[in-house]
Structure formats: C-alpha cells, structure tokens
C-alpha cells in the first residue's frame, strides 16, 4: 500500500510536468497545425538557464525560474520567427526539417558550451515531509502544486481574457481570425512565447530532483508529443489528462514491474489507446 501511494505521488509529479509541457505543445500545434519538434529542446534550454542563474550568478530558485521563463519566451518567439514563419505556406515537410535543424542546433550548442554531463541544481527545499505515511521531499510537492497553478492560470488566460481567446480563434479558424482583425502572426508569436516559457518553468521545477543534461529534451519532447496525440491533437483538456495518465503509467509500471521498462509502458499505452480510439482521448472525429 505504501509503495502504491508512493508511486501514485511520483506519477502525479511526473504527470504534472508532462501536462505543462504537453499543454504548450498542443497550443502551438493548434496554431501551426504541425508539431514543434524542438519543444523538448527548448524545455532543456530552460533548465540550463535556471541552472546557470542559480549556480553561477547566485540567483534564488524562484527568481532564476522566472528569469528563465522570460528568456525562453524570447527564444520561443525567435524560433517561431526564423524557423516556422518563413515556411508558413510551404509543404509541412519543410517545417519538419527546419524544426529538426533547430533541435540539433540546440542540443549540440549545449553539449559544446557546457559539456555532455548532467548537472544538478542544489535543491532549494530538500527537507522531507510526511503525508499519510508517505515520505516525500518538499520539492516534489512543490512541483505538483506549481504545475497545477500554472495549468489553472493558463486555462483562465485562454478562457477569460481577450488575448487568450485570440489563440483559440486562430486555432479554430485562421482565416476567420484574420477577417475579424486579429494579427495572426502576433498570435503565433505569443503562443510560442507562452509554450516555451511554461516548458522552462517545468524544466526548472524538476531540475533539483532529476538533472539537467543535453539529452533531457529529446525524450521529454517525444513524450510530450505522445501525450498530445494521446489526448487528441490540439486539445487542451486532452494534453492535461494525457500528461497525468502517462506520468501514472510510468510511475506504476516502473515501481511494480521494472524501472528499466518505464518508457516501454509509456509508448505501449500510446499504441494501445490509438488502436482503440485513433483520434485520441479528446480528439474530434475525422477532420
């Protein structure tokens, strides 16, 4: 029972970060209609920025995380502008190639600049606490709470504010959005900024628990991609649920069967769900 609860908490923690990263990916997908393959690598860069601000410049954890979000928002806008926008009216394959170029650049840049080894941010909240007989560090609890706060804020932004509504409008009908006077390029730019800033937040939150390393982006980007497909392309509730489902599957599969196979469970779940419901959990039928 204790193992079970422990793994559930781990799953929720993993799932929270997955949900945040997948949410950004699904928003960008809604706008561009292509996945941003470089998303995981931007997440990695966000982790590194926080790492350097904390270790080299002595920033506090929260200040470093918020600064990293700002930096990554700018990087995201830059990527949209130079990697995607020039290829807007070209076949999608061109954007894929461009995105792969961007992610290879990011990964190689980080390896050359800071080395291939993993780095650890000193844990700002290492003290363990006990809830219902399970012991976890405060940082883990913090990841969960911070991620949920981010998800709620993002939802409120999308549903309750005019700039948020323009993101939904462009996703649902690009030409309709232009015709009501929305500057769709500015909306793309804003969507990228939000997606990469939230990815940086997720990377910063888990950096004291796991590590930052040049390869952390590739696997996470792949998983976020799975989650977005699992939840239904472009679906916001799908990305959130998908994130938690994947986190729980990994934690339970890893805890009970074998940690070496946790990614097998994740990808296996994808294949299974898509075999049963090809449009994803929240996907619309054909179209």
């Amino acid at each position: 029972m204790e193992l079970f609860l422990q793994q559930i908490i781990n799953g929720i923690m993993l799932g929270s970060t997955y949900a945040v990263v997948a949410l950004g990916l699904t928003l960008v997908f809604g706008i561009l209609h292509i996945p941003n393959f470089a998303h995981g690598h931007l997440y990695m860069l966000g982790g590194y920025v926080t790492f350097f601000l904390v270790t080299l410049y002595g920033f506090g954890f929260w200040t470093a995380m918020i600064s990293s979000m700002v930096v990554l928002a700018l990087v995201g806008m830059f990527v949209e502008r130079v990697v995607y926008r020039p290829l807007r009216n070209q076949p999608h394959i061109n954007s894929f190639i461009s995105a792969i170029g961007a992610l290879m650049f990011l990964e190689t840049f980080v390896i050359v600049a800071w080395g291939p080894q993993g780095q650890r941010i000193p844990n700002p909240y290492p003290n363990p606490i006990e809830i219902m007989g399970i012991i976890l560090t405060q940082q883990r609890l913090l990841v969960i709470i911070a991620a949920i706060v981010l998800i709620i804020l993002l939802q409120l932004f999308l549903k309750k504010t005019t700039p948020g509504t323009t993101i939904e409008a462009v996703a649902q009908n690009r030409e309709g959005a232009m015709l009501v006077g929305i500057n769709v390029n500015r909306v793309s730019s804003m969507t990228f900024a939000i997606a990469t800033a939230t990815a940086a937040a997720a990377a910063s939150l888990v950096a004291p628990i796991f590590m930052v390393s040049p390869s952390m982006g590739a696997l996470l980007g792949m998983k976020a991609f799975i989650i977005v497909i699992l939840g239904g392309l472009g679906s916001v509730p799908g990305a959130i649920c998908g994130g938690y489902i994947l986190g729980l599957i990994e934690a339970l599969g890893g805890g009970y069967i074998s940690a070496d196979y946790k990614d097998v469970f994740a990808f296996g779940a994808l294949i299974l769900i898509l075999a049963i419901k090809p449009t994803g959990l929240f996907g619309k039928e054909a179209g």
Partner: protein, 236 residues
C-alpha cells in the same frame, strides 16, 4: 468609398480575376453576380487583403490598401463576411461576436451598443448566445457570420454568397436583414450572389463577373430585364 483599378489576382498560377475595375460610393448597395467559379470569392478575398493582387490597385476611403494585411483593413472599416462563414465553431455565439469587435476592444461601450443592434437584427443570437457556434444550423450560422462582421462597425460590408445552401424561407430572412443593414444602418454593402433573383431585388445596381472578368454593369432593375442576365442567372 471603394475603388479598384485593373486588379488581377493569381491563384496557383491561374489568374482567377483579371483587370477588374470598379467603384462603389458611400451608402450604395451593390450586387456582384456570377456563376460558380466566376471569381467572386477571389475578388472579395483580394479586397479584404487575404489574397494579394498581382497587379492593379485598391483604394478604400482614399487610402491604398492592396498591400495591407487583413487585420489592418478591418480596422479601417472594411469587413468581409466570407464564403463558408469561417466562424469559430467551439466558441460560443457571444465570444464569436466579441471577436468580431476585436478591432474595437478599447471601446467596450460602443461594442455593447453594436451588440444590442445585432441582437435586434437577429434575436436568435441573443437567445442562444451561450451555445457553441458549431452547433447552429446553416441559416443560423450565416446570421452569426453577418452579425460578427457587423460587430467591427464597418463603413463597408462585403457579403460573399450569404444565401448559399439555404432554404428559400431562410434566404428571405437573410435578404431582409441585409436590406436593413444597408437602408437602416446606412452601411455600404457589396453583395456577391449566384442567386441573382434575390440580389437584384434588393440592390440598387450590380456588376456581372464571368471567368474572372467584369462583363456587364448597370442598375439592378435594368439588369433584371437584360436578356443575357435573364438567360444566364434568372433561369428564364
């Protein structure tokens, strides 16, 4: 108010409209007739800035607009209610309307007034304001599309085949609404239609577009009696 000089637009290597010149004065109610594939939609999308003309110039209220992006053209007071309606299907009727007023977001009082006006024009939109636009019937969606275009309080409204695919009774309702947009609200209206019967009954004058070229223009009542128009568009 709107002046096109020798406008040509190329889509996929094919000149869908060629050397179109026309002029519409403030307050006029003008029809654009043409069969399927004549180039009506291409002409309207070019005016609205979605497509860029390969040649020629477009002036609106004395300003050259043929190089401007669509969102700047709407802000100048020219609004297109597009073919296929292009609504935001998962957003509520109310949110669709509010997005229609996006260019006026700094003027909530004015927007509220226009909202009351369009609710008066189409009471069904008020009744169903919280329903997602995608759940509407074709006729209701068309009403919403027209209302959304009006929310920017345009000086000139382009309507691209609003009767397409609708039952005759609904077409009548839409025609009445368009007439009141022109006559009561004082909006300049440019209406494209294959349904020449309806268009020529309500407009003051019209143009006929064939294979991307304007071939005829005149007062609507004269066009109704024109032999070529009768044969090609009135099923006589």
């Amino acid at each position: 108010m709107l002046k096109l000089k020798e406008v040509t637009t190329v889509i996929g290597g094919f000149a869908a409209i060629r050397n179109v010149s026309l002029e519409i004065e403030k307050g006029e109610f003008v029809a654009l007739l043409g069969s399927n594939g004549a180039g009506k939609t291409t002409l309207f999308r070019t005016i609205a800035g979605v497509l860029k003309p390969a040649n020629g110039s477009i002036e609106f209220k004395g300003l050259k607009i043929n190089k401007l992006p669509p969102h700047k053209i709407v802000a100048l007071g020219l609004s297109l209610c597009p073919e296929g309606r292009q609504l935001f299907p998962q957003l509520s009727v109310y949110k669709n309307l509010m997005l229609g007023a996006y260019t006026r977001r700094k003027d909530p009082k004015g927007v509220q007034q226009t909202l009351e006006q369009v609710y008066e024009l189409f009471p069904i939109l008020k009744e169903r304001r919280n329903q997602p636009a995608g759940t509407f019937s074709g006729g209701q969606q068309q009403m919403l599309a027209i209302a959304r275009a009006l929310m920017s309080k345009p000086d000139m409204l382009l309507l691209d085949e609003p009767s397409m695919g609708l039952a005759p009774l609904v077409v009548q309702k839409i025609a009445d609404a368009i007439k009141s947009i022109s006559k009561e609200m004082g909006t300049t209206v440019f209406l494209s239609e294959q349904n020449a019967n309806m268009a020529l009954m309500i407009t003051d004058r019209g143009y006929v577009l064939e294979n991307g070229k304007l071939v005829l223009s005149g007062l609507s009542r004269e066009l109704r009696n024109n032999d070529m128009v009768k044969k090609a568009y009135l099923g006589a």
